[in-house]
Assembly symmetry: C2
Homo-oligomer: 329 residues x 2
């Protein structure tokens, strides 16, 4: 394993400190416990949006803290849930009279720890559970995982909260976006967790993992390597079956890199996926292509389709100023 680190123990601290310095115009880092928060006051009564999860998926979630999106994010150790004290401290710091909405990816550890934090929180609160990964059926025992579609949930709720939507409205909106969003990923290589020092899983020179999770979890099936068009048609077909978009439906197409896949290839995937849905009469009216929900140094990508109505489109387009997403300001 070759990585830019000094020691496993202070990797996260040094990285978060660098992140906070590089973006000191919009965020600050709280230590003991760790969370990244906006550094500008919000309007009284604004719903505070708190997310978080294991590190190793950067820019998710810390890169989405800022005006028009999250109020704070709690980074756990690599691929490990943050702890309830982080979530509670972040919620208490950011609560501003409008209550707290937690946005949680559906993994057992995250769900449990956010529940513990929520129980200790002494103000109105609610939770949106992101579960956009369609690699497994809706009936899967632990439910579907939250993956790259989570940022779309965060962006759209973020815009609503910024414009004064109350807690119940933000919660309902988040659930609506989550249901209208489906993702599926494919791995060409494993990732390597620094503390482990070797690849999380073995994969042959001619194999790909269809439906892989963002921590390297096994997916739907192991296939032999094939053309980009075949890969895109496979992933998009499952997403399309799940969402069943009508002809003329507007949608956002998000191609997410897992960390080690060149932008050149991600744009090629975008081209093929947009052709897939154009053929079906879907109107791909918004796009996002890049490394947003990563899996350390994994080569691979995910495709996310999110169905948009006029309200969701307006909220997606609303100004946002975070480290990783910025427009309109």
């Amino acid at each position: 394993m070759k990585k830019f680190i000094n020691s496993i123990d202070n990797l996260l601290d040094e990285s978060l400190s660098g992140f906070a310095k590089a973006h000191a115009d919009i965020i600050q880092l709280n230590t003991q416990p760790h969370f990244v928060r906006r550094n500008k006051p919000t309007a009284p009564g604004k719903v505070a949006l708190i997310s978080g999860g294991g590190s190793g998926h950067e820019p998710l979630h810390s890169g989405f803290v800022g005006s028009g999106m999250l109020d704070a994010a709690c980074p756990g150790q690599v691929f490990t849930s943050p702890t309830p004290d982080q979530m509670l401290a972040a919620a208490q710091a950011m609560e501003n009279g409008g209550g707290v909405l937690f946005i949680v990816k559906n993994y057992a550890g995250d769900v449990m720890n956010f529940e513990i934090a929520a129980e200790m929180l002494d103000c109105p609160h609610d939770t949106v559970l992101a579960c956009d990964d369609v690699a497994f059926p809706k009936t899967h025992s632990t439910g579907r995982r939250g993956v790259a579609g989570t940022l779309i949930v965060e962006k759209i709720i973020g815009a609503a909260a910024e414009s004064g939507a109350d807690l119940a409205a933000c919660k309902a909106l988040g659930d609506r976006v989550n249901i209208a969003t489906a993702s599926m990923g494919v791995a060409l290589t494993s990732c390597t967790v620094p503390a482990l020092g070797k690849p999380t899983f073995d994969i042959g020179e001619n194999e790909i993992e269809m439906g892989v999770g963002i921590h390297g979890e096994r997916g739907r099936e192991r296939l032999t390597m094939r053309s980009a068009t075949e890969i895109v048609d496979y992933l998009s077909g499952i997403i399309d079956d799940d969402l069943k978009p009508q002809k003329g439906q507007s949608a956002l197409l998000h191609i997410n890199g897992f960390g080690a896949t060149p932008l050149m290839e991600l744009h090629l995937i975008y081209e093929l996926a947009s052709r897939f849905w154009e053929k079906r009469g879907v109107n791909i009216c918004r796009s996002l292509v890049g490394n947003y929900t990563t899996s350390l140094d994994m080569a691979g990508c995910s495709i996310t389709l999110s169905l948009l109505d006029e309200e969701l489109l307006r909220l997606w387009d609303a100004p946002v100023h975070t480290a990783a997403l910025r427009w309109g300001c």
Copy 2:
């Protein structure tokens, strides 16, 4: 080699087509010959800024086409100079009464082809040669290579051109930024050019290439793997020796990923590099951390320091709207 492609022959076409669709709000793709151009008219008399180079470094340069930065970019095949007909067609399409300024990275093929295009161009024109890579001495036989600092040159000239600076002023400004900018990179792994199908160079499990070029060219020396602090101090020391910033000097610190290095590690590198210059009294007042001048799927990064005065700071901060850099609008 596992990559998301259909065939080597149409990789670039499919990728550029996807790029153009994903960013159709600001750019369009010209084919025969290939160049990416702004899709909105510029003010009469504005200097047209044209860059380009081999593909495989995305988002450089196509990702920097748009308001406040480039007017057009000419993508060559992977790691191969674009051809003079691309540059000439881009210049003729974008020229709007203010002349043309070519921004060229210092590689023999690029320099030669931009020179041929310039000779055929029937309007006032000039060239800024980016050569910010301090891995080799100033006296090196072919001069220093243009690497990650090129985007800083493009951003700052872009802002000046947008605000009405004339050709001579843009040329002088570009040369000034180039001289005030120094970069140096390190590779942990090779990259793999799709048409070659295997790594460009061999590197051991415990080796790193100091001063590597963005095409995998040999650098200054091959060292054993070491701590992030030692790597940063090595790279920053050479940059510091070259630029010799005074105490109190303001500077932009740019940490650039080569494509396969997680953002978590790039922020750690930022932390260590900012400490290096803070100790020397340099005021790191602007930052840019991410994958901007990549080398396909290489793991590694470069550090760039760019000295800023008030004028350069104002131009860096001016609004920009491109696929890869956007603020203020």
